[in-house]
């Protein structure tokens, strides 16, 4: 086995990150030209690309673990280079997205079985993941920005996919937010580059050697960057697009919320704080506390608004607003434990939220259920889906042994370590209570109330409660979320990996 992997890494060489990006990018381009009716060819291509990507990521992971260096450089203009680089943090995100992409692809194939424009959809779907992976593997801020913008472009057609007025309006709003953010990020990066030179990501940051007179500029740049990234990460008050973007098909929502867009913003904030500014230097600049306050406010605000949504996907969307800010909160608290909490939530939130969206999609696709008030008794009709939903929801509340518990635990410990428990703990408590308040009634309806008639039953229950390709993805992701929490201390678990990253950040 090791020999085989050796041979593989040898053959793929240092360019492995590039192949990983291209594996989905090229397939995406090919899929655009696949005839609408050739279902089998498209499915094969999709799954093949997803599996190949996952395999390549596996090889990369193995290589990085064994200390090999993967770097692809490409000078695009004087003093400007694209750099793909695999470090521990990027591996965390790359693995998450490659894994969830495979699952989501399966789900999307099942979900869009009879809808039009599948080639276009899957083409952009692949591009979207390429952008995400590229962004994860970006070795400097320039590359990051390029993939960040590319991601916006690739997701726009997905949000607008249904072509209805509502979808187009949502897509327009999405663009308005994300492009403004992207532009501000670009301005900030150029500004920073004019001050600090090449912006290669280095663990521990690169800016602390700059003279003191640049510090006020650095604060402004930080603000611009956080605004730019915060749009995607849906920090309040930049979150307005997210609940509207719910008109997109369920796999897109899942991808948007768990893997690609929102995560890209959060990941960017992590990168900027840790690998550009350096968390200790950011603390010296005094920018962490405001960031933490914004995150805290977002957490409570998102949860509160979620309470009042009857539309299931909207409720989940506001829940995302709240949950993603845990990552930001963990980043904003100085200290290794909070860092672990924030980074590990990157994975945990992804697993749990994608489960919830898959389940929501299943309800809509199988029974036509779009609203919480229609969910009475759905647990009996769709037990596995509802079980997955339940696990995801409990995880969001932070109940062990789901993954969300681990995140919250470390965030709390981190807050204690940094001496900010006084305001972080109330936020965590309030958020948990609010999460319980908007998730538990759903579970109650689903499991305890007798069923009414379903709004629009498309798929009859046969052997399984719904189409297999819709059923298994949420079950798998829910199991992963469970395992990630239950066996959090196993080697190679997200938690362990986050601890590895953290150990390198605080040298």
């Amino acid at each position: 086995m090791n020999e085989l992997l050796n041979v593989l890494t040898e053959a793929l060489g240092k360019n492995l990150p590039l192949w990983i990006v291209l594996s989905s990018f090229s397939v995406g381009l090919v899929i655009f030209f696949v005839q609408e009716s050739s279902h089998r060819l498209r499915t094969t291509l999709n799954l093949l690309a997803a599996v190949v990507k996952l395999a390549l990521v596996g090889v990369l992971l193995w290589g990085v673990y064994h200390g090999q260096v993967y770097e692809v450089r490409w000078v695009i203009a004087p003093n400007l280079e694209l750099l793909l680089h695999a470090d521990a943090l990027s591996m965390l995100f790359v693995t998450l997205s490659a894994l969830l992409w495979l699952v989501t692809t399966v789900y999307a194939i099942g979900y869009l079985e009879h809808s039009p424009h599948r080639s276009r959809f899957f083409g952009f779907f692949s591009l979207c993941v390429s952008a995400t992976v590229g962004l994860a593997l970006a070795g400097n801020l320039v590359t990051f920005v390029m993939f960040y913008e590319f991601l916006t472009l690739a997701t726009y057609p997905l949000v607008a996919h249904k072509g209805s007025d509502e979808a187009r309006k949502a897509a327009r709003l999405y663009l308005a937010y994300t492009f403004t953010g992207g532009l501000l990020l670009l301005v900030a990066v150029v500004w920073l580059k004019s001050i600090a030179g090449p912006l290669t990501f280095v663990q521990g940051g690169i800016l602390d050697t700059l003279p003191a007179e640049t510090h006020s500029a650095l604060r402004w740049i930080f603000l611009l960057m956080i605004v730019g990234l915060g749009v995607k990460a849906a920090l309040v008050p930049l979150h307005g697009w997210l609940p509207k973007a719910m008109v997109a098909p369920a796999p897109v929502s899942a991808l948007l919320h768990a893997v690609a867009v929102v995560k890209a913003g959060a990941f960017g904030i992590v990168r900027v704080v840790y690998d550009v500014y350096g968390v200790e230097f950011a603390d010296v600049l005094g920018v962490l506390v405001p960031l933490g306050i914004v995150a805290a406010f977002t957490i409570v605000y998102g949860s509160t608004l979620a309470l009042f949504q009857d539309e299931l996907k909207k409720r989940l969307a506001y829940s995302t607003v709240s949950q993603v800010s845990y990552i930001v909160l963990g980043t904003a608290i100085l200290g290794p434990l909070a860092t672990v909490g924030g980074i590990v939530h990157l994975v945990h939130q992804g697993l749990m939220k994608i489960t919830l969206f898959f389940a929501a999609g299943n309800y809509a696709e199988t029974l036509g259920i779009h609203r919480v008030s229609q969910m009475n008794g759905v647990g009996k009709r769709m037990p596995l889906t509802t079980l997955a939903f339940t696990l995801g929801a409990l995880g969001m509340i932070g109940i062990p042994p789901m993954a969300g518990f681990i995140s919250k635990w470390y965030l709390g410990l981190g807050a204690l370590e940094a001496g900010v428990l006084l305001w972080v703990m109330p936020v965590l408590i309030a958020s948990s209570l609010l999460n319980a308040a908007y998730f538990l009634p759903i579970l109650y309806r689903a499991w305890f109330l007798p069923a009414d008639s379903w709004p629009d039953e498309h798929i009859q229950a046969q052997r399984w409660e719904t189409h297999g390709m819709l059923l298994w993805p949420p079950v798998i992701t829910a199991s992963l979320a469970l395992l990630a929490g239950l066996f959090a201390s196993l080697p190679f678990s997200p938690l362990e990996w986050a601890q590895l990253i953290t150990a390198r950040e605080y040298k």
């Binding site: 062990p400 370590e417 428990l421 948990s432 239950l486 201390s489």
Partner: protein, 508 residues
Amino acid sequence: MLQPVLLELPFLLLLAPLLPLCFALVGNDRIGQWLLPVAALPALVAAFVLPVGTSVALPWVLLGAQWGLDATGQVFLLVTALLWLLAGLYSVSGTPAGASWWRFRVFFLLTLSGNVLLVIAQDMGSFFLGFALMGLAAYGLIAQQASVTTRRAGRIYLIWTVLGEVLLFAGAVFTAGAIGSVYFSEVVGKELPLAAVILVTLGLGIKVALPGLHVWLPIAHGAAPPAVSALLSGVMVKAGILGLLRFLPAGAASTVWVAEWLVWLGLVGAFYGVVFGLRQTAPKVILAYSTMSQLGVLTLLTGLGLQAPADAALAMALLLYVAHHAWVKGALFLGVGLFKQTLSWWLLGVLVVLALVLIGVPLTSGALAKGSVKAALPAAWQHLALGLWLSSLATTLLMGRFVWSLWRYRRQHGGAASHHTSTSPGLTQWLGWAILVEWVLWWPFLFALPVFKWWDVSPILLGLGMVALALLPRIPAGDVPVLVAHTGYRGWHWVRQWRHKHRRFLSN
């Protein structure tokens, strides 16, 4: 050959919480119901077989788990497992009416798993997991019937439970951060920040129904099926006591500060429960208030125990009290369930006996527990003896009210047993309850019973006297002579009627 394996292997320890979990997945209705008692078997065996100090490390689970048995844990496990087993047996045929049997079974097993896990947990992660699993899954047991009151009860229970869990979580994070470890063994002898102690106390205080945090308890008990109430009152609320013992480092300054509060709060709770229980009419609600009152005593003892780390007598008293209350209260609730189904007089009689056990008449576990408590009172807290005396009196009164409420229930529902319940009790219901009653009456004789003292019995006698007075028929003005005359008249009247009725028969 099997025995060394059993002895040696901590696998029993693993099996104890995991077997119920696995059983929860079995969908078959025909064998499914028998899994309820069976699921508690490993825990019971573990409690008997495994030596104190057994422990198994699961470093890759959660935050690094460790499961094991210490002396306290062993007693708790024994109490817990036995009650679960018998309640499970009771439930095999005692399906709550109108409920989904499948759902009941799944939640029963999940709750059992959580309860056992929190007893054997020696790290905060596992404890919290068990605590949360038990707390949340119990919702499914309480909200069995689909009635408005049940839903309301379930909702209130859930709100308080989640609140407690979140507070406990905060406290646990605080504690773990302060001592730098998640293992309870590391807590011992450390100093904790006061905020951590308060958070933990508040979180667990909801479970042990500290006055003010007790709202959920009578409501939930009133709505839950008898077996569930038995478990809730008997063992689940005791998780709070265990949690306090586990999380708080005995003797540390901040703990002592909170522990003094606990003593007083416990005392208040002991009377609070009685005062408001006395105004209730439903038998199960009265029992629930009695539970709150008894939990007050337990909280008081815990408060005392947390101030003195090495007081073995106190610890022993606490454990005895836990066992006493768990089993008696379990037997009472199950008995009420049977009584409601049958309305038979002899059941009422047994319930009266059980009530007397709870009160602590001599030669019962109540006397044993109370005696040992009294013996173990630290010198500085001797004045509490008066409080305990009053508490005994109060309990007696409350049990009087309980018996009265049963009698009233019977009168209201008429003599016909099948008037309002569709089923007569099944065999396993009788079996489970009978074993429990047997055990309740028998187990105190394993210990040296306290010497009989009038002082100990005086509150009981006084209480019984007051109850008797309250239960006497209305007394007309002119009291005894009038009463005698009245009785004579009634007797004469009765005789005349009898004669009139049977005249033809007699004349034949």
